[in-house]
């Protein structure tokens, strides 16, 4: 199938739904929550048209469980939520990571903590997206900054999830989610879509969690005769629970190594005018849009400033970040929370260059003016 492109004025959340359909998602289980509900609403209409299934479950926990259940059955599946719902999904998110079940979770961030400000934007789920579920686990988090990027990153989320058998979170703020932008909806070629590797060969000798060169074992589809056991308990290569220290360590180590091994595939970022920059603003989502404007304004005044925007938030593109910011004198991390991404940046920079913060936790966006003022203050 050739790529078909059409221009359309769509909302961020609708772009997420359309990206999912384009990626081959055929199952959605969700629960209403502001400001993500438009994803569910759009998919309730779109999925039946392509032979897919939409179901509204009884709660956030059940919608995560049903999403994983459908994926275990072999169907690309996703769910969508916001902060409080994301908290409720964490246990089953860990189950997906442990059982290596592909699935995509859109988290449209609102003001927090707790019920917070449901209709106001926030970026306070950065650390929860990485560490929300218990134990050492692999997870990929993508942070698009435009409606067009929500569409393309949702497709990439499914591809990464299928390729690496890992849950992928598409994380963006309420502003991006409710933004209307005219974008190109490019239907991917079949060869641009990735399906998980399926088990083949003799069912009798099949080991569902055996070591493979790429650290991603093929998955057994129920009904194909493999009769595999799937458990969130620490399991051996046969898939059965084990408490043998060597086997337990091996199992979890492979889960974590899996993402390191495929770092190049996962990592994505944008560096704007960073080559000669004295100050580099680091921001994501709507804050990066404001930062982009601030960089342009300051450059027109002759100020050497750049922008680093992680598109893949976790695993953070550490090597690229070090390279891009190597010659800068200062970094400003701007985010709509009390300081979360900055902790990772401080860890990576380890004091050189110096790291400054710009934060807002009042439900309002950070403006280009604020960032321009912050750059000037840092440079003075």
């Amino acid at each position: 199938m050739l790529a078909v492109t059409k221009r359309e004025n769509v909302q961020g959340n609708a772009a997420c739904a359309l990206g999912a359909i384009a990626a081959g998602c055929r199952f959605f289980a969700g629960y209403p929550i502001t400001p993500s509900s438009e994803i569910a609403e759009r998919l309730a209409g779109e999925l039946p048209k392509v032979g897919g299934t939409f179901v509204q479950m009884e709660d956030e926990i059940a919608s995560m469980a049903a999403t994983i259940g459908a994926s275990l059955g072999g169907v690309k599946s996703m769910t969508a939520t916001s902060g409080p719902g994301f908290s409720l999904k964490q246990e089953n998110l860990g189950y997906a990571a442990m059982t290596e079940t592909p699935c995509v979770i859109a988290n449209v961030m609102r003001g927090g903590p707790s019920t917070g400000m449901p209709t106001r934007p926030g970026q306070g789920d950065i650390m929860q997206a990485r560490w929300g579920t218990h134990g050492d686990h692999p997870i990929i988090v993508l942070t698009p900054a435009s409606v067009g990027e929500i569409y393309s990153e949702t497709i990439r989320a499914f591809n990464l999830s299928e390729r690496l058998r890992v849950p992928v979170v598409v994380l963006y703020d309420e502003i991006i989610g409710h933004l209307l932008e005219t974008i190109e909806l490019t239907t991917p070629d079949d060869d641009q879509l990735i399906d998980r590797k399926w088990a083949s060969g003799d069912a009798k000798d099949f080991l569902p969690y055996a070591d493979t060169d790429d650290l991603v074992p093929p998955m057994a589809r129920p009904g194909d005769g493999y009769r595999v056991h799937t458990t969130g308990l620490t399991h051996d290569d046969r898939g059965f629970p084990t408490q043998v220290p060597e086997k337990a360590e091996h199992a979890v180590t492979r889960l974590l190594d899996k993402l390191d091994h495929h770092a190049e595939l996962i990592e994505s970022y944008e560096a704007v005018m960073c080559e000669d920059a004295d100050v580099i603003i680091t921001a994501f989502g709507i804050t990066a849009r404001a930062a982009h404007k601030a960089v342009k304004n300051l450059r027109s005044q002759g100020v050497k400033v750049g922008l680093f925007r992680p598109i893949t938030m976790w695993p953070f593109p550490e090597a690229a970040y070090k390279k891009v910011t190597g010659n800068a004198k200062a970094i400003i991390v701007a985010e709509m929370n009390a300081g979360q991404l900055v902790l990772e940046i401080e860890r990576i920079c380890a004091g050189k260059p110096e790291v400054h913060r710009v934060n807002r936790i009042d439900g309002e966006v950070i403006t280009p003016d604020e960032l321009q003022a912050a750059v000037k203050e840092v440079m003075s």
């Binding site: 055929r26 199952f27 289980a29 209409g45 039946p48 299934t53 179901v55 479950m57 009884e58 709660d59 926990i61 059940a62 919608s63 469980a65 049903a66 999403t67 994983i68 259940g69 459908a70 994926s71 275990l72 059955g73 072999g74 169907v75 599946s77 246990e91 089953n92 189950y95 129920p222 009904g223 194909d224 005769g225 493999y226 009769r227 595999v228 056991h229 799937t230 458990t231 969130g232 308990l233 059965f240 629970p241």
Partner: protein, 286 residues
């Protein structure tokens, strides 16, 4: 053993060998001596055999607890999920793969406490699957804490003065939530239990079966209920087949729980209710 073509109705206990359905390389199993779950598992497998359900097309979804561990021993597609959530996982699996025969194995704590919300909505939604709830009145795996079905005044590790909370009637709950098929049986009569489970497997829609199991080692010992045989006999004597009549206060067995098929109705299965999406027609004004 390969399942033969054609329904094999009522093979005798001698003809049916449960070991043909088990992952014997995982044995010895972890159940305590005297635990009723083994008899329940036997009945589940026997019913599969008699209903001619292929182990390749079967999907067993379990929760957490002693009941949740049964799945690993079944030589099929088995899923050991999170605590209380097997019905939600199974809903996704069954909707995505209607070609699979989905069976959920859960316990009283898993299904009625932490997973209670999923049970009532699974009953209401009516996706084709069978939920087998093993009721042993206690959280066995965690060491014997009180559960929603622990009988009045029973001692558990978290009710040192005896249980003061009322007992949940799972079958009444399932019926009230709209389950089209509801049944209950004790483990003492495995063939009777097998026949009930067969009927549940056959039901097109959501079917719920409460299996009265016994926890001899933890619950029985703490309450001095005797050995396994005594516990099973006392369960039998405190239940009464539905065919005895409809009055629960029947003098033959006062306050007895009813067993057998308690509800069997005709409801459209979830997929049968799907209608094409129609655009909303604007209201015509005169």
């Amino acid at each position: 053993m390969n399942i033969q073509e054609g329904v094999q109705a009522h093979v005798s206990a001698e003809e049916f060998d449960v070991r043909d359905y088990m992952r014997l390389d995982l044995f010895p199993h972890f159940l305590c001596p005297g635990c009723g779950h083994g008899m329940a598992l036997r009945a589940m497998m026997w019913a599969l055999y008699e209903n001619n359900i292929s182990m390749d097309k079967l999907a067993v979804v379990c929760g957490i607890g002693c009941s949740g561990r049964l799945g690993a021993y079944i030589d099929s597609n088995t899923f050991h999920t999170t605590h209380g959530r097997p019905l939600a996982f199974a809903t996704g699996l069954a909707l995505a793969r209607p070609d699979l025969h989905v069976v959920v194995i859960t316990g009283d704590g898993d299904c009625l406490a932490i997973g209670g919300n999923h049970l009532i909505h699974a009953c209401r939604r009516n996706v084709n699957m069978t939920c087998l709830m093993l009721n042993n009145e206690v959280y066995g795996m965690t060491g014997g804490q009180v559960s929603p079905t622990t009988s009045a005044d029973r001692y558990t590790t978290t009710t040192p003065g005896g249980n003061r909370e009322p007992v949940f009637d799972a079958c009444k709950l399932a019926e009230a939530a709209g389950a089209g098929f509801v049944g209950r049986e004790v483990t003492m009569q495995v063939p009777t239990l097998k026949d009930l489970i067969k009927e549940a497997y056959d039901y097109n829609g959501f079917s719920f079966v409460e299996i009265m199991s016994d926890c001899t080692e933890i619950f029985g010992r703490k309450n001095q209920l005797g050995e396994s045989a005594e516990m099973i006999l006392s369960q039998k004597s405190s239940t009464r087949p539905d065919s005895y009549g409809t009055k629960v206060d029947d003098p033959f067995r006062p306050n007895a729980l009813k067993t057998g098929v308690l509800v069997k109705g005709v409801r459209p299965e979830y997929r049968d209710m799907n209608r094409p999406i129609q655009p909303v027609q604007p209201v015509q004004k005169d």
